[in-house]
Structures are given as C-alpha cells and as structure tokens.
Symmetry: D2
C-alpha cells in the first residue's frame, strides 16, 4: 500500500534560503513528510530549526553523519526514506555519498558537487547502489517547459537551428559579499564553497540544463567570454557564450549577476525549420509559439490540447498562475512517485520518470569546467 | 508549545476541483495537518479519497455530522482543530454552523452560504461562539494586493476617485452544463445549488471583495445590467455594474463567464488624486503604479522597499513567481497562526490577523442580492 | 489625369495641436498639397503660420470666409479642392457649411459640430450639395481596426455578445484649465467652445465610434453615470456607461480624463459566440484573437493572411510599427482617392470608400446628447 | 528666407520597398519636395513611377548620370538640392560620388556602399566637397533611442558594463530567393549586389550602429560565429557575436534572418553601474529603466521630463504612437534643417545636427568586414 515517503534534510536551518523552498516543494503534493534533519553545523540552530518544523527532538541531529547513522538503525517503518541536501556546493558530496551507501535515496540541490571529481564519483555511487537520485534543476519542472520539450520531441518545430538562452540577474552588481550579513552572497562568491565558478555555476548551469532539456540536443562546442565585473570579487559574475549543438544548431548562452534591475530573467528562444518558441521564467505559464506566415500563438498552462506531460505538471485550471514553487514541487512529486513505486515494487508511470538525474548533474559540472576553461583560453572553440 | 493544527475536510473528494486547492494551500506552509474528512456524500468515494490522502480509515467519515460528532469525542490532543468546507454553496451552512457550535474553527469557501438568511445566521453564530472563521476570498492573499491596499491606506494615491474591477472568464460560453461530465458547470449554473446568482456569485463577488479590500471603501450604490447570454442557462452568466463608493468615487465592476478566450482575468485599476495603480491576477507579482507627470513604476514582489504586509505574504526572493496557490495559502497561513495563538493563549502578531471574515462573507452575499435586484429593477440606483 | 489635390486649412496656426497632426496626415501619402489657409483669428499669427508652411502670402487669409470666397474666384486649376477644419468644436459648422455650398469638399475634425442642430444641418448640406465630407475619427484608420471589423463582418467571431470599450486619459486630473498657458485644456473644458460635453465629447465619442465601426452594431440603449470629478470644472471629466446594442449584445463604455497615469489608452474587447478579440490603441499593430479551447493568436500588421482592407491600410512590411499619424493619414488617403476619382469622373476603388462620414458625425453628436441626458436622468435606460 | 528643399531620387520605382519609405519619411515634416528622379534602370518603369508621383515628365530621368547632369544645368531656384539613394548596395557609390562632386547633398540608404574601398572613397569625397551626407540608420531616429543615449551621456546609468543588442528576423528562413518574384530576397542574398555579407550587412550593421550610438562606446574587439543556415544560400543568414567595448564593457550582438516568427525584433539592453535600460523597436515609445533596489520605470515618449533631444524627436503628445516612418523622418528632418541652414548661410540649431554620417557608414562597413573575418577565423578575438 502506498504511503507518504519520509524526508530527512541536510542544511536549511534558520536564515537559509533554499532549504525553505525545498520544504515547501516537498509539502505541496502531500506525498512527503519531513521527519528528521541535520539543519545546521551549529547544533543549537539545528535544534531550533527542528522546533520550527515541529519535529521530534530525538530526530534533530547535529551532523549529517549522525543522522544517516541513527536513522539507519530505526525500524524500517519509521526511518527516513531519503535525504534532501540543501547545503552550499562544497557540502553536497559528503552527505550524498554516505546516504546512497546507507540505502537512502537522495534529492540534491544543484550544482551536483564542488568539483568534477566528486561529481564523477557520485555518478558511480548512484549506479553502484541503484538508489534514486534527483537534482533540483527546478526550472525544468514548469508545465510550459514540458510543453516546449514535447513539441520539439514531436517535431512540431522541425529541425532546430538556433537557441538563445539567457539568465540575467542584478543582485551582485555591487560587492555585496563585503557585507557580513549577506550570507547568500558570501558563499556563492567564495571559491572555497562554490567551486571554480560564480555566475556560471549558480545560474549558467541552469541555462545550460534548460537548453539541453528542452531541445534534446547536446552542446558540442563553446566559445566563452567570462568576466569578473565587480572589483574585488573572486569569481565570475558575467559570462557570454557562443554555442554549437550536436545537430549543428547555433546558440548563445549568457548568464549575469551584474545586470542591474533583472530579477531571475531566465528565458529561452528556440527556432526550428517550421516554428519557433519563446518562454520566460518570470511569466512561466505562457509559451509563445512562432510561425513565419501566420499569427503567433499564445500557449497557456491549462488551455486547449497540450501534451500529457504538460497536463501532468499543473494542478489548477487555466488562469490560476502556478509558479516557481510548483515547478520545484514537480521534481519532488516525480521523485516521490518513483520512490513510492520502488517501495511498492511496481513500475512507475513513465510520466513521473522525469526529473534531473545525477548524470544531468555531471553534465552541468562538465559545462562549468568547460566554460571556465574556454573563458581563459585563446582558442576559439572548446569541445564539450 | 506550538504545534501543527489539525484539519478535517468537508467535501473535496475525487473529481472535485477546489478541494485539492484547499489541501495544497493548507500544506504549503507546513502549519496544518489533514487528519480526517467527510469527502463525499458517496461513502465509497469518501473512503477512496481518504486512502488518497493516507488517512486513518477510522477518521474518514460518511457525513459531516458524523465527523463533527465523532471528532468531538476524541481526545483533545488528537481531534481536529478546524474544518475546511469545500462543498457547493448550498452545503456550506450546515457543516459551518454545526462545527462552530461544537467548538471547531472554520475555513469556508466562498460565497459564504446559499442565501442571505443563512449568511446572517452564520455571522451570529461566529459572534456567539467566538470561534475563528475564515472565508477563502483567496485573491486578497497575493503580495501585490497587500501592497496596493497598504499604499492606499497610507495615502500614496491620495483620495480615490475611480475604480475599474473586472473578472472575465470564457469557460461557460456554451451550455457546458448540458454535458453530464461537466460537474463544475452543472452545480455552478443550478439555482438549487448555487443560489440566486451564477457569475455574480461565483466571480462577481470576488471582484467586489477585491475592490473593497484594496481601496478600504464601501460600495454605496450600484446600477446593474445582469444577463443570461447562453440559451437554456438558468442563472446569469454576464453582468456589468456601475458603482458609487461611500467616498463619492465612481466605479465599474464587470464579471462574465461568456468572454471567450479569457481564463481568470481578474484585474483592477484604481485612480486617486495623486497616483493610480493596476494589477492583474494572471501576472500577480507585478503592480503598475501610475503618475501623471513622471514615469510609471513597475512594483514587483520582492523588489525594493515594500510594505511589511507585502513582504510577509511572499516566500521567495524576487523573480521566483509565486502564484494562485501561494496566495490561497496565505489565507490558511494567517488563519493557522491565529488558531495557534488561540491554542497557546497569546496575542497573534497583527500582520497575521488579515484574512476574509464571516462579515466579509455576509457583505459578499448582500452584494449578490443587491446586484441581482438591481439587474431586475427599472430603478437606476440601488443602495447597498 | 490624376493629380495631387489641393488643401486649404481652417485653424491650426502656431501653438495648436491638432492642426499639425492634420498637416502631417495629409502629407504622408503625397496625394495632397497644402495651398492656402486661414490659420488663426489673429491675422499676424495666420501670416506667420503661412510662412512656416512656405505658402504664397497671397493665399494666407485672415478668415475662413475670405479664404472660401477668394479661392472660389481662382482658376479651377489653381484653387483649393477642399478645406480641412481643425478649429475648436464651436467653429466647425461655419466653415464646413460655407465650403460645401461653395463647392469645396471638407475634412473636419471631430466632433462634427457644436450641437445637434448644427450637425443635422451639415448632414442636410452634404446631402444637398453632394460634396465629399470626411470626419477624422482617426482611430478607425488603424490596420488592425480594419482587420477586427472585417473579421466580424465575415463571421469569424460569430454573433457578438459583449463589447467593452474604454478611453482613459489622465491629463485633466487637476484643474489644468486654470493655467492660462494651457489652451488645449481651456477650450476643451469650456462649454461655450466644446458644447454640452467634456470628456464624452472629446474622447467618449471616439470610443462610441470605434465600437460601432468595428462591430457593425448600433447602440440601442444606454445607462450612464457622468461625473465632474475635479472641483471647479464646468464639464464632465469622467463617464461610465452601460450599453445594449441592437442585436442584444451587452456592453460597457467608459471614458475618463482623470485617470492619472493613462495616456490615450483607448482599447476595445469584443466577445462573440466563436471567438473574441482585443485591441489597444497604444500598441496598435497587435490584435489578440481569442478562442475558448485553443491557443489565442497574435495577429500583427503585415503578418500572414489578413483581409484586403487591412493590407491596404499599411505602408510597410511587418515589424516596422506604423502609428497614430499613419492611421490618421489613412483617412486623408481614402478621402483624397475619392476626391481624385470624382475629379477624374471615375468610380473609386471601393477599398478607399472607407472613412467616417457626416452621418457618423451626426451619430456621434446624438451619442453625446443621449449620454449626457442619461447621466442627468433617474431613468435607467435611455434609448438612442 | 527659408524654403522647402528639393529632392531627386535614385531608385525606388514601382515594386521597390525602401524607396516608398524614403518618400514618406521625406514628406512627413513638409520640409522637402520631390522634384525629380531616376527611379529605375528600366526607362518605362521610371517614367510610370514619375507619373505616380505627379512629377514633371521632363524631370524623370533614365539614369542617375543623366539626372545629375541635367539638374546641374537647371536654374539654381529650380534644380534639386540633394539626391536620395535607395538602390541596392552595389549601386550606392556611383550616384553618391557623382552627386557630391556636382554640388548636391546626399541621403543614402545603408550600408554605405558595396565594399570598404568605396566607403573610404565616399568619406574622402564628402570631406573634400564639404557637402552634407546622411546615412539612413533610421532606428537611431526614435525618441526613446535619443532618450537612452542622452541618459547614458549624462551619466544616469553610471559606467556601462554590459550591452546585449539583437536583431532577429524570420523572413529568410526558407530559400526565398529561389522564387523569382521575391526581388527583395534575391538581391539581399546575392553577393554581387549586397557585398560580402547577408544578414550582417542588412541588419547586423543596424545593431552595431544602434549599440554604439546609444552607448557612445566603440566596439574594440569581437568574436563571431557567422553561419549560412539555409542550404543553397550564398551569404550568411545568422550571426552571433561576442563583443568587448573600448571601456571594457562586455557585449553580445546577434542578427538572424532565420528566426521563424520574428518580424524586426531589434532590441537592446544596456547595464551600467547604477541602472540599466531596455528598448524594443517594435514597441518603440517605451523605454524600461531598471534599478537594483527600487521599482523599474516605464519611460514613454511624451511623458514627464525627458531630454531635449527626445522631445525634439516626437511630433504628438503622449499616447499617440509614433513609429518607424516618423523615426525615419527624423533623419530627413534633421538633414533638411542642416541643408536649409546651409542655404540660408546660418548655423543650424545643434539639436538638428544629429543624423548618421558618412563616417558612421564607414564604421558600419568596417564592422561588416571584421565580423565576416572573425566568422572565418580560428583566432578568438579580432580587433576592430
């Protein structure tokens, strides 16, 4: 019989940003119950966070090692089923690897890990253990992203010729990390926590993932101009990249954290032989489909005939905007359906077998390495 | 000590629409746990729904009467704290009244009840019992609606002179209720279930509530043209209304369910002596603020200095769109904070003491009666 | 053989607004030559204006009477063919009547005249003299307005059920007419120059004309709330009107000059049994066509298959925005083609026989009278 | 005394596109009179075109050489003052050079000439003869482009850090030039008429000109990926370019003629230290100004305090959209004011001394050469 699956969280204590997002995303579809956590390296903060979430104090742990060990020892019908990792990048690998090896499934925030070596090891570990691993490239969870992908897969656009994907933000237009209150800015611009990339790791990789997910193409070559615009910053905060895809399509990817006045303006435009499309993350329920000799069309979540995967990704009738949290929840929903099927020993409905995997995470990490390499190189094209 | 509050649901079994929305809205902020329900008048359907929600079968009831009675007999630390009523209009009054009298708080979908008499009795019952009662006029939960209201309250627009509020939909442009599969259409156009009004009760009342909530004004007089456009329909499906507010401001309200191609295009424009504003439900995180001799401004959820009630209504940083479900959740969140404070015997933070009340529900019902009366009358202005 | 037609202008001297618009509109298609004028009641100002336009000083007149008389006496291949009247409302009738009776065609700014009596007399005079008379309800000149009209005429929307037409402006949100520099504001709010209506005559009549032009329907009844919002103003500055059309369609018309932050936000939404449409004057090259169970479409000037009258109303390929001046020019272009055909003694191509007529002007004046009457009346519905 | 200046046209006979645009642009402000032309290499077509424009048949010439020669021999108060060249690229140089050397001013469509050599020679010829030469990079004529430029010049954005300029079209997504009726497509994709570049010469150079005009910066280096997407085409139809400006700012430029469903979506986004801005050619009267910690602003033609050059570039009050033809006309207007001042022997008002020059044309041609060179090169960065 089906049941809610049980989540333990690593990170995400008071004051964090993405932890709260994960908890809401896990709660929305009521398939997941938060049962335990190691919310902070500060035990008092972890304890207080446990209170915030109404947890049994005995299941609020000081470290992820303790959590994984203790939970493993609990009865099968009590212990957590999976962990959700919402720590900074340099703290993904440890809990992910240990959890997998102790028989727990994993949801992990992106990017997959601190570096390429860790990432490769995680792929191996997932393959070896057979556990379910989802990476929260959350933007792929939007219904209209599903629609765009399905349209291309079904040939509605014809052969893809050009892709323009962009992710401008403005929040790091000043040296925000110099302010000790700005913890988000601090770790995301610190190479010891973020890894080799700043903007490219934080948001460039979302753009790369979105482009490959929707088009079904792979980036084959790139030529990057990677910059640190703000004086005193340690990592890149702006990058412009020429792309060539494996089918010959041309592309542009840019990501920026110094584009004053931009919030999270992730957007993608794709042009095929027969039609084009355009999608903006900040108005996510609209997909413009473009034609050469007739009126462009405004596809909307919930309106008219949409592909089944689009329909499955929405909860409300047309005109009730679903947003970022629901898109994020779609990853948790699909993950939870897969875990429930695994527990029940049945095949999962293929419509749910759709979430970013550990391999997507490795590919994202390879992208980060290549794009930083290209940025430093005098060679025009770098193969990926 | 604080704890999650426990919800019992009336209605909302398999195949219903608004019940699922309420469950998600209650789940989002993780302050509420669904513990029991009388999900359907069909006991088998109710039982299956209980399984869907992983409930203890002993707490899945055949009727709301049974649920309220049995739950009352459970130990205080087990029994539900409140009921959520998500049935058609003619089935709001019974469970609401009984719950209140048995010491349960209530969340009720709008409109408040089937008719004016029931509505008045509910106001009396809430006042008499002292229980907490929230009506889900969910559109008031959006951050930018809070901002608009706070701006007007603080005089940023000057004296209000004109209001245009509208709610066009297209889904009833044909006689959908003739199709037996269309249960939403069937009960919403059936006077024995919906009450005296169709479009005016279903969505006109949302428009009225939004206008009064944001402006802080009261409609003083109205002049309505209420129509049934589709042949064979029993209730109104289109209405256009001239308004005069208690401060002398002029206004227009229209609601329509035959406006082909419109989803849920609730929108409001308000003009004061100093500035104006415009908000659209389908792009809810944007509020345009208008000036006569300088550039209009694009206020956005999460950007810049916003009023505290706006900030409190959002969960994510700027650029991550929150939508309908989060706005709906804000009503449950505020309600749950009030109930938790009541349980703990403390004053609730005033920022949470903001949700539509039973009096708002009565006002909405009075609006429905007056607007239908005006539609039938040859008298130009009808006082409210 | 075809030739440019010759224009004499009444009004429109230095400092005026609409005169310059007419001159540009007449110039754009290079079918019209300005040859003379009585540009101002101030002879010196008239003379200087003539210099601005490089006119022969002998054809710059002190009064319209002088102009019409003197031009009549010039040889046929020299004298003007028509006059363009761009004076305030109370000075339309005189030059229009005299010109018609002297065998000159007329282009006249709207509204047709100062009052109903003058308007009726002009209809008679046009009918009696057989001269060509065009009224510059310029908004009907936009390509996408032509498209909307053709779509409805061809049944693409099915039977029309609802119309929402609006024209909010903000420029008279303060008592601008108290400033002696504000000549536009002064005459437009002065009943001795504007007539019985302010906002309703200035812009309400544009909204009425647009709605009837596009739908092909006639307003049958109306119920109006007409207000003077700004203290000290003599005429209405805001009006909200319920409409019923001759086919039973319901409607709303509003026009306002106190809607702070609005420029010239003339817009129309029309809903039929099969489809709906939406057009905004400030983004005039876009027409949204709406459907119930499929994607809405973005019709654009120049893109795909459009009706012939739409194509005829545009000068440039898609994506080169044409605007207000080109729409205005379409009235002059069609008028000039009709005059050229008259001169050549041939039938004009029917596609050009499309401009607002003196009868449209009378209808506009009747609308003004009825809407002001309704505003003052306690009777709910006033027949038109 | 001031007078209209007299224009002779080279090219632009029946069936051409850009010739008609130039004639309208020249007509709008009523400062220019078309007096003669060599409209086509086909004498009959030239003659018929002359009839269309009501010209004296004796001034409709068979060739530009004949026109320049004959007009030179006419009395000074009759002969043309300047020629307007609206032929394909390979036919700019001949008439331009000959006209300049015969003492005629020149307006020339872009790009300046067929190749770099011709372009350099034209710069020399203009400098040597001292005649006035304007190139119709018409997009710089929009009021909001003037505003953007003035804002940056005045430091409103702070130091510029990033520029994204794009010009996608879709009209060449198929091999349109294979259809013999498609004359526009034919010459624009023919290297013997267009020169070394297709999309980069036709529209890429507009993007380059716009970016440098608005920012006041110069492109210092570029790295281009230039493609011919459509099989059988001879010239590029898509190009993506990384830019570095002379102040260190980063940039992206892309131009495409295979972006299905795009009309003329020229757009630019610019980010400085203090603010950013965004402008779209297809909604040209809006300029979004962006800030990091406060509401973005919607600047509009005609609203509030704008820079004098913005005000000078508009003809109508706010809310009456001016478009492509008016922007184009601004170049003719400024050019005509300069010619009139030259004739009158006075200094021109500096606000009119603002139009693209022969040097801008040379720079555009250098851009075309460099971007094509970069597209073919394995070297990452090419200096400009």
């Amino acid at each position: 019989m089906s049941r809610k699956i049980r989540m333990g969280m690593v990170g995400g204590g008071r004051g964090a940003f993405i932890g709260g997002v994960h908890r809401i995303a896990a709660a929305i579809d009521q398939q997941i119950e938060l049962v335990c956590g190691a919310f902070s390296s500060n035990p008092e903060k972890s304890r207080l966070s446990g209170e915030d979430f109404f947890l049994d104090p005995s299941r609020v742990y000081g470290t992820y090692e303790e959590m994984i060990k203790k939970e493993s020892e609990l009865p099968e019908d009590v212990r957590m089923d999976f962990i959700s990792i919402v720590t900074p990048n340099h703290m993904h690998y440890g809990p992910a690897k240990m959890a997998l090896e102790h028989g727990f499934h994993v949801v992990c925030d992106k990017p997959l890990a601190f570096d390429l070596e860790e990432s490769r090891d995680l792929v191996d570990t997932v393959n070896r253990t057979g556990m379910i691993f989802a990476l929260t490239h959350n933007y792929t969870g939007y219904p209209m992203v599903k629609q765009a992908r399905a349209m291309i897969k079904n040939g509605d656009l014809g052969k893809i010729r050009k892709v323009v994907v962009e992710y401008p933000q403005g929040w790091l237009a000043t040296l925000l990390e110099a302010d000790t209150e700005q913890k988000q800015a601090a770790w995301r611009t610190d190479p010891s926590k973020s890894g080799i990339a700043g903007s490219m790791g934080d948001i460039g990789t979302h753009a790369e993932n979105l482009a490959e997910y929707i088009t079904g193409l792979k980036i084959a070559e790139m030529c990057a101009d990677i910059s640190t615009i703000v004086d005193g910053r340690q990592l890149d905060d702006d990058g412009n990249v020429l792309l060539r895809f494996d089918n010959g399509a041309r592309g542009i990817l840019f990501a920026s954290q110094i584009s004053v006045g931009e919030e999270n303006s992730l957007a993608i435009r794709i042009y095929g032989e027969k039609a084009g499309l355009e999608w903006h993350q900040m108005e996510p329920n609209t997909l413009i489909v473009k034609y050469q000799n007739k009126a462009n069309e405004i596809y909307r979540t919930g309106v008219g005939e949409l592909y089944p995967e689009t329909v499955a990704a929405a909860r409300t009738p047309a005109g009730h905007p679903e947003g970022y949290l629901e898109a994020f929840a779609n990853i948790y929903r699909n993950f939870s359906k897969c875990v429930q099927a695994r527990i029940a020993g049945v095949e999962v409905d293929p419509i749910y077998n759709d979430y970013p995997t550990v391999e997507d995470g490795l590919r994202g990490m390879e992208f980060i390495y290549k794009v930083i390499e290209s940025g430093k190189s005098d060679q025009k094209w770098i193969k990926m």
